[in-house]
Amino acid sequence: MLDAKTPEGPIETKWENHKFDMKLVNPANKRKFEIIVVGTGLAGASAAATLGELGYRVKAFTYHDSARRAHSIAAQGGINAAKNYHSDGDSIFRLFYDTVKGGDYRSREANVYRLAEVSNNIIDQCVAQGVPFAREYGGLLDNRSFGGAQVSRTFYARGQTGQQLLLGAYQALSRQVKAGTVELHTGLEMLDVVVVDGKAAGIIVRDLNTGEISRHSAHAVVLGTGGYSNAFYLSTMAMSSNVTAAWRAHRKGAFFANPCFTQIHPTAIPSSDEFQSKLTLMSESLRNDGRIWVPKDPDETRAPGDIPEEDRDYYLEVKYPAFGNLVPRDVASRNAKTQVDAGKGVGPLKNGVFLDFADAIGRLGRDAVADKYGNLFEMYERITGEDPYQVPMRIYPAPHYTMGGLWVDYHLQTTIPGLFAIGEANFSDHGANRLGASALMQGLADGYFVLPYTIGDYLAPQLGSTPVDTSASEFDQAEADVKAQVDRFLATNGTRSVDWFHRELGKILWDHCGMERSEAGLEKALSEIPALREEFEQDVRVLGSAETLNSSLEKAGRVADFFELAELMCRDALTRRESCGGHFRVESQTEEGEALRDDDDFAHVSAWEWTGQGSEPVEHREPLEFEYVKLTQRSYK
């Protein structure tokens, strides 16, 4: 029953032909259509700007105080494109192939090919917008190899690529705000999708500063609301990143796909105490020159510099001689966990591994190392108080990106007609593991170059219709539900803060649905989460009123959704009895301890249908077929 609506024909021409086949809305008619875009990160801002340029009437919403603040801004490394500017053998087909392979063969070929295809347009667009990408002395664009890729296809703007791309999209959006095609609403959080006659008809939002709840209708609704790593509490996400928009759409009928596919990034700074609020990522590029090790003796007490070579375990170099410290993210993360679990962790809480630059400094000199990594070293010192030129850095994995998300077809439309999901909020392109520098690419591909075409095909037949009146009973009901939840939180008057519950939930999820998942662990989590949720409902303390800025109240709604999502993540992980990409089931590994896929039984997308709280969700499967990419067992030996 899940129809991905993938066009026929050879993969190289699917998108081109499909663009011709899709229905168009003529330029003069575009202004007769209203579109709501929720979220102003890379995907949302680029979509809203482009739809505005095309002439649609767009209403964009963000809970941030400005459209420039979404967490896309924190991406450091870069953005991939198949430009092949360095004649090193890159091509659209190679970028496509690498992305499907990197995703451990759990993504849809046609979507990924399209992503690779439009990657080049993104670079052109961003350069024209004035994004200050790094340049060579001749004035042309510089590239680097990133995350173990064998070609140099990553474009970057110092360590702030995400910031620069987001500001580019924000500025394009600002231009449309000025032009009057986009009505931008800041400080408003979406709390429900309204579905009328089976179609997305609008949204309910709450003004975070005044508490006012309002209704907005449109011909179509687009969610670019990001990922859900904050379900783990400690992650590299911004504090307010949440799953609420996507989750409430799920509760209204949008299927949620592969929720257990989460990416744990290997190089974050370990937490220093239990009140830590977030984890800070150190760029993956550090693994190009840093060597990862732990002391061989768990009871080692000497300072790292005093530990002789023979007492150090460079476990990645030993285990994976070909790739060494540059093994993919999931492999590096899991191996770090193995060391820490074995008691060999380093630092005051024994919760990290060393990333050591002593050899690089010896080989290249301090200045050369400073040139490459100076700003990262500075950031590390600022946070830990330790100087990485003198002592090795300490790193540990942290939840970083979620490949799962709302199920979408080739048009990026969810299972609710008229509701679209773009960027990290959807599930489609990264399979079970995302490659470095691909998140920015996907967010902008969806927003600039895919959705603006596909949404026209949905809208065209509706010419002449007006958006549903917001006085419709479905809007009444949705608004009443939102109000009831707000009132319930304020009336509970329990004893524990929202953050306390969020932290406890995060611990369960991290222990049992993090880097390693087992049947017993997942079963345990599935009994603990509902119990904790019950306690949350009865014992949470939210003070203040609903009529002013009240961040505890905002968080309460988000954490309530994380509770339900966490359960689904565990259920999905339990159902997927194979290992693939970031999903590692201990029961399914090779003799060497690597993720072992089961292509016969699990080469599919699991899309879950909500059936009510406390009721088991229904799994729908979309089979994945691979015509162009050959399925192989990954090996980094």
Binding site: S66, G130, A134, Y170, A172, F449, S552
Partner: protein
């Protein structure tokens, strides 16, 4: 560590404000400044008092959401550091810290330490972009950019829009923010066609919202990204040219 906080509390935009005193006890020197405030808030919630509202999001110094005056200094005592990247080891056990919202008439107070910085968005909307519709761009390498220009544009583009420059300025001026965006776009070849219209439009909106620059230089000192006041000089030069050119073409 134990610290005493004197925090500006204000229930809403029109409510009267006042300082309240709180104790932050048993704080780890390794925790961040905002984690210290999280703990104070946990205590307040425990005592049934409304927590302190403050601005924050990414907590890694890039989103530009955070910011407050700490002992009279925007983003606190450490240079080139946003509030979220401050760590408690910067302070001494027993310190008294006075926490206030950004102080500038261009940034009205929303609640406690939270202010409204939407005037910055109005400045960008006035012209802080290059007008190019999606899909119409030529191949990226058809526009070579001298490396020094690209680097200068990047230096300027590093602005995170936090507003510390305005808060630190005795005049509450918005020159550093505005000039940083202008320097980025006006330096690049892609930004030349709209250079002077952009400059005039952005400066004029800036002046509607913010005070006047008198070259105090406090903005550069407070900026967590080290944005240079040289950009203000570049903006002034372009603005003067713009006034003549735009008048001629009007």
């Amino acid at each position: 560590m134990n610290l005493t906080l004197r925090v500006w509390r204000q229930a809403g935009p029109d409510a009267p404000g006042r300082f309240e005193t709180y104790e932050a006890t048993d704080i780890s020197p390794d925790s961040s400044f905002l984690e210290m405030l999280d703990l104070v808030n946990e205590d307040l919630i425990g005592q049934g008092e409304e927590p302190i509202e403050f601005m924050h999001d990414c907590r890694e110094g890039i989103c530009g959401t955070c910011g407050m005056m700490i002992n009279g200094r925007a983003h606190g005592p450490q240079s080139m550091t946003a509030t979220c990247q401050l760590h408690m080891r910067t302070f001494q056990d027993g310190d008294e810290l006075v926490l206030e919202p950004w102080r500038a008439s261009g940034f009205p107070i929303v609640k406690d330490l939270v202010v409204d910085r939407s005037a910055f968005d109005r400045i960008i909307e006035a012209g802080g972009y290059i007008s190019i519709d999606t899909g119409s761009a030529p191949d990226a390498n058809l526009i070579p950019v001298a490396k020094q220009d690209a680097d200068l544009a990047m230096d300027a583009a590093a602005c995170i829009g936090c507003g510390a420059c305005v808060a630190a300025c005795p005049n509450g001026a918005g020159q550093l923010f505005t000039s940083a965006k202008l320097a980025q776009l006006n330096t690049l070849p892609q930004g030349q066609p709209e250079r002077y219209e952009r400059t005039e439009a952005m400066v004029e909106v800036m002046e509607e919202h913010f005070g006047s620059c008198t070259n105090m230089g406090e903005c550069e000192a407070a900026c967590p990204k080290g944005i240079s006041i040289d950009f203000i000089a570049m903006m002034n030069r372009d603005y003067r040219k713009a006034k003549f050119r735009n008048r001629r073409s009007a």
